[in-house]
Structure formats: C-alpha cells, structure tokens
C-alpha cells in the first residue's frame, strides 16, 4: 500500500482542511490530470474500512507533492483532519479520468460549489497555462466556508456567491450565469453538489455552452473493480451505467443523466 508523508495540514475554514502530502507516484514521470482524485485511508484500523475520495486540488510537480482541500464531516474525514506534518497516510492515486482541456478554446468558465471547488484550481491553472482566459463562478454557504479565493483570483476573473450574502453576492451560482458572463465562453467545467450540477447543466444547455461535470458517487474501491460508483450516462441515445472512479469522475455535461 502506498504510504506517503503528510507535509502540511491546516484549517482553511469552519470544518475545512487543506492537506499537503507527498505524491504516491512520480508526477513528472507518470503525469496526472486536473479533476482526478486521491483515495485516502482514514486510518489503519478496520472500523472505517473504505477509502475516502478527495479531489486533487493542486499538484506541485517540482516537489512531487499534492494538495487536497476537504470538509471533515464524517468519522473518516475527521480522522484525516487529525493528521499532522510528518505523519504517514495511505494514498492511492491520482485516480480516474479528469478534466480535459479542449484545444482551440479561448475562454473557459469554472463553476464550483462548496467542497466541489477544489478540483477547479489545478484545472484553472492548467487552462491559464494553455493561454486561455478563465472566469470562475464560485458558490459557498457563507463566508466561513469560502475557500481558495486567492488561488482563483490569480487564475482569472472571479465571481463569488454565497447563500447568505456574507461573502460576494447573495444567491446561487446559477444566478451568476448570465448572458454577460457567458459571452465568449467556449466551454465550462463544473464540480459541486448534485442539485447545483443539475442546475448548471440546464442553464448551460439553454445557452448552448458545452462543458464537463465532475460527479460524486459513493465508492467501494476507486479503481474500477467493485462497480459501486456508477452513474447514468446517455451516449448516442443509449443509457448506460459507467464507473465514476474509472471513466469519471468527469463526464461531458451533455451525456450526464440525473434521475
């Protein structure tokens, strides 16, 4: 099992943590994609048996370290939050199929909600490096939950929304997806809670902007062997279940079926 050292762990909001750890693979050699995820064991003990999937938020190829940003909500993520620099953590990954930048695009939109925001950081940096202009629309419950704003500010334009108006504008992210904002946008990339993804999918369909959604399903294995994590996809009119851990978690928005 690939055990790596925690380099840093810090609180970044109420119940929110940023953890930096050594990459279990050589990032330079093996490569990675923004939108992939890491699969972490909460602890050595068997009472919390399954790994926890957390999105790759930032990858530092030079130092071969990875960053995740996560909410300590259940027992497993709470145990992860107790780790400190120097501790050992068991990490698989990066796993799955992430966001693919499409060549020829000139302006991309990132739409993130809550704890779905982290994977968009590495993506935004990548798109920017590709020479694209990027606009990010980020939604949070409230100010204490707002994360990674500095990182997005450096990537391009940024609109922040919050449920209670304690940061940015009051409202849902879809409220910010106006014609003005969408003008010139070639493609969108979105990650967040399912109701948000549904709304984003619908809105973007109306505006005829193609894009990608990153889905969240409960996972058994994270590597494609349990078939626990499927999501319904429609390809060429045919409905089928695909594994979000292997073929996903990122899928073309047009193909994703929400039941």
């Amino acid at each position: 099992m690939p055990k790596v050292r925690v380099v840093k762990q810090e609180s970044v909001g109420t119940g929110l943590y940023k953890m930096v750890f050594e990459s279990p693979i050589d990032l330079k050699e093996k490569g990675f994609m923004p939108g992939q995820f890491l699969h972490l064991r909460p602890s050595e003990s068997y009472d919390l048996l399954l790994r926890r999937p957390l999105s790759l938020c930032m990858a530092d190829v030079e130092h071969n370290v990875l960053t995740v940003v996560y909410r300590a909500q259940g027992e497993g993520t709470k145990r992860l939050a107790r780790l400190a620099a120097g501790d050992v953590v068991d990490v698989l990954g990066p796993l799955g199929h992430g966001f693919a930048a499409v060549s020829g695009d000139r302006r991309s939109l990132l739409v993130g909600g809550g704890i779905g925001v982290p994977p968009l950081v590495e993506l935004g940096r990548y798109l920017k490096k590709q020479g694209q202009s990027v606009i990010s629309v980020l939604g949070f419950q409230n100010k204490s939950q707002a994360i990674l704003l500095d990182e997005f500010a450096q990537i391009g334009d940024m609109i922040v929304m919050s449920d209670d108006g304690t940061i940015g504008e009051r409202g849902l992210v879809t409220g910010a997806l106006t014609e003005d904002v969408l003008m010139d946008v070639d493609r969108f990339y979105s990650c967040g809670p399912t109701p948000m993804l549904k709304a984003v999918q619908a809105t973007m369909k109306v505006f005829c902007v193609p894009g990608f959604l990153s889905l969240e399903e409960r996972m058994g294995c994270g590597i494609g062997i349990c078939v626990g994590c499927v999501h319904e996809i429609s390809q060429k009119g045919e409905l089928k279940y695909v594994k979000t851990c292997k073929e996903g978690p990122v899928f073309p928005s047009e193909e994703v079926v929400f039941s």
């Binding site: 099992m1 064991r41 068997y46 009472d47 919390l48 048996l49 399954l50 790994r51 497993g76 698989l92 399903e217 409960r218 996972m219 058994g220 294995c221 994270g222 590597i223 494609g224 062997i225 349990c226 078939v227 626990g228 994590c229 499927v230 999501h231 089928k240 279940y241 292997k246 039941s259």
Partner: protein, 310 residues
C-alpha cells in the same frame, strides 16, 4: 523449527490441477482482472474468480450501491455485467496472458434455466477452468436468494448444472440460512465438486439525515472483517460434514486470517472486500501466509487444513 518463507510449499491440488497457492480474489471484488493486472502480475494468484455473469446484460441497481459499516461494508450492485457472450468474447481472453491462472467464472441468474444457459454457453470458452454457482446473491429481486435458502431447490439447480457443465462446479452458499449444513449436504449430494462460503450477509443501513435507507436497493450484502466470525463458523461446520473441498470466504484481510480459515477446514480461500481497501491485498496476503507458516514451522500449507479440529 523455523524455516524460510520461500521454502514453504503453498501449493495444493484442486480438481486435479495444481494451484500455486490457496488465495484467489472473490467474485465481484476483482471485476474481470483487467484493472488489478495494471498493478501486479496476476500470475501471483492461486486462481481468479471473476464477476458474476448472467445470460443477458444486466444494468444493476441504482446508486448508492455501497455503504460503509463498522469493520465492513454493504453492497447492492445488482449483478451489473455485460452478459455471458460478451464476457466470453471481451473479458476472459484478456486473462490468457497469465499462463498459470485458473479462471473461475461466477454464474448467476434468476431462474434455473438461465443458469443452465449460461453454463452451456461457457462450454464454448477455452478459458474457463471451473464454474462457481452463485445461488446466493442477496441483491437480486425475483429469485436469486431462493436457490440459496432452500435445500431442495438448490439440489435441483446443482443437478441441472452438473448435467450440462464441462468443468468442475463450485457451489457458493449463502449465510442467510437457518441451517448451513443441510444446504451444504444437499449441494454435495447433487454433485457439487466443491463448496465456497460465505456470500454476503443481508444487512441494511439508514441514512439518518435523509431518513431513508442509504442504499438505493434498501438492503444489501454485508462483507468485510465484520462477518469473518460468521464465515469461520460456517466453514468449520460445513467442512466437518462434507467430503468435497470447502473454499473459505469472508473478511480475509491478512495471512493470519487465511490460516484461521484453513484451520477451520478450508482448502482454499477467496479474498473480497480487502481488494477495495488495498488493491495489492492478494499478493500481500500470500506472502504473509508464507511468512506465518515459516514462523510456525509449517512446511506445507495443506497441513493447516482442519488443524483446529483435532
């Protein structure tokens, strides 16, 4: 007597074939081997049991399909698989590259006729070393579980399959019964070449925030270390009464756990949920088993079988 772990003989004979070691991944916990073959050489395994195969394609249940429980997990996959034809054409041939890997195909269905058709179809495949009859999957509606809880129905099923099968038939038993021994005896009498046990225990979890069952399928199958004591008990009881080999399954995470099952009477074992926690579980468990034998002066792993009974 302390010996070297490399000197421990892990091999065993099953259905007139030599197995390198008694450890194989359990059905549904290793897909068809492709994914894990990217991580290590599957030749290391004693054998491989692939995912349940049905006559026609099955989409399976809605999600959530998995849930975590104390030292265990629930699953309700619902036998998602592409159907026996595509399994034979698209999945099994991939495993030919592993020259010493007996392939056991897990067969499921909702009626005896379905099972018979699948087994007939598999006769055309050169890749099938043995068949494991999954008469015990708790996550399929209409039928399925019934075969696994009624000795007479199980017997009818096993006879029907034995009549058409060209390879050895392992019958996989459900733990969700009052009397596992009569199920085992019924299957043995009907001609089962071996028995494997246990499949998952029916369980359920409530999502207390959402106030509804967590799994879309309401209930699911419990697996993992939590069920090991149940599995060991059943293996002990069944192996004390039948003559055919018993393959032990349930919560195996380490080499010590294999020793426990073998001492309880298992000839070989299958490793399920452990693959999800650690994809390298099987080779790790195999080397832990060798090390345990070495540390305890056991030169042949077969010497462990039933050792707790003397």
């Amino acid at each position: 007597m302390i010996i070297n772990s490399e000197d421990v003989d892990l091999s065993l004979d099953l259905f007139s074939r030599r197995f390198k070691n008694p450890v194989m991944p359990a059905s549904g916990c290793f897909s068809f081997g492709r994914e894990v073959s990217m991580l290590y050489d599957l030749n290391l395994l004693g054998a491989i049991v692939v995912k349940a195969t049905t006559l026609t394609e099955r989409l399976g249940n809605k999600t959530p399909r998995v849930a975590e429980t104390p030292s265990g997990m629930l699953n309700a996959i619902g036998l998602q698989n592409p159907g026996v034809q595509r399994v034979m054409e698209e999945e099994l041939p991939y495993l030919r590259r592993f020259d010493d890997l007996p392939v056991i195909v897990n067969v499921a269905g909702t009626a005896i006729e379905d099972y018979v058709e699948v087994v007939k179809a598999l006769r055309d495949s050169p890749d099938v070393f043995a068949i494991e009859l999954n008469i015990s999957c708790p996550n399929v509606k209409c039928g399925g579980i019934q075969f696994g809880t009624d000795p007479l129905v199980a017997q009818e099923m096993v006879r029907a399959i034995k009549a058409v099968a060209s390879v050895p038939v392992i019958v996989k038993l459900s733990p969700n019964v009052t009397d596992i021994v009569s199920m085992a005896l019924a299957c043995e009498e009907a001609g089962a070449d071996a028995l494997s046990l246990i499949n998952t225990v029916v369980g359920m979890q409530i999502d207390v925030e959402k106030r509804r069952p967590l799994l879309a399928n309401t209930s699911g199958g419990l697996s993992g270390p939590a069920i090991r004591p149940i599995a060991v008990r059943m293996v002990y009881e069944v192996s004390s009464r039948v003559k055919v080999p018993v393959i032990g399954i349930g919560g195996i995470m380490t080499g010590r756990d294999v020793v426990e099952f073998m001492m309880a009477g298992a000839t070989a074992v299958q490793v399920g949920t452990a693959n999800f926690v650690d994809p390298w579980s099987c080779p790790r468990i195999i080397s832990e088993l060798a090390q345990w034998c070495a540390d305890h002066g056991v030169s042949r792993v077969t010497d462990l079988v039933g050792a707790a009974k003397q």
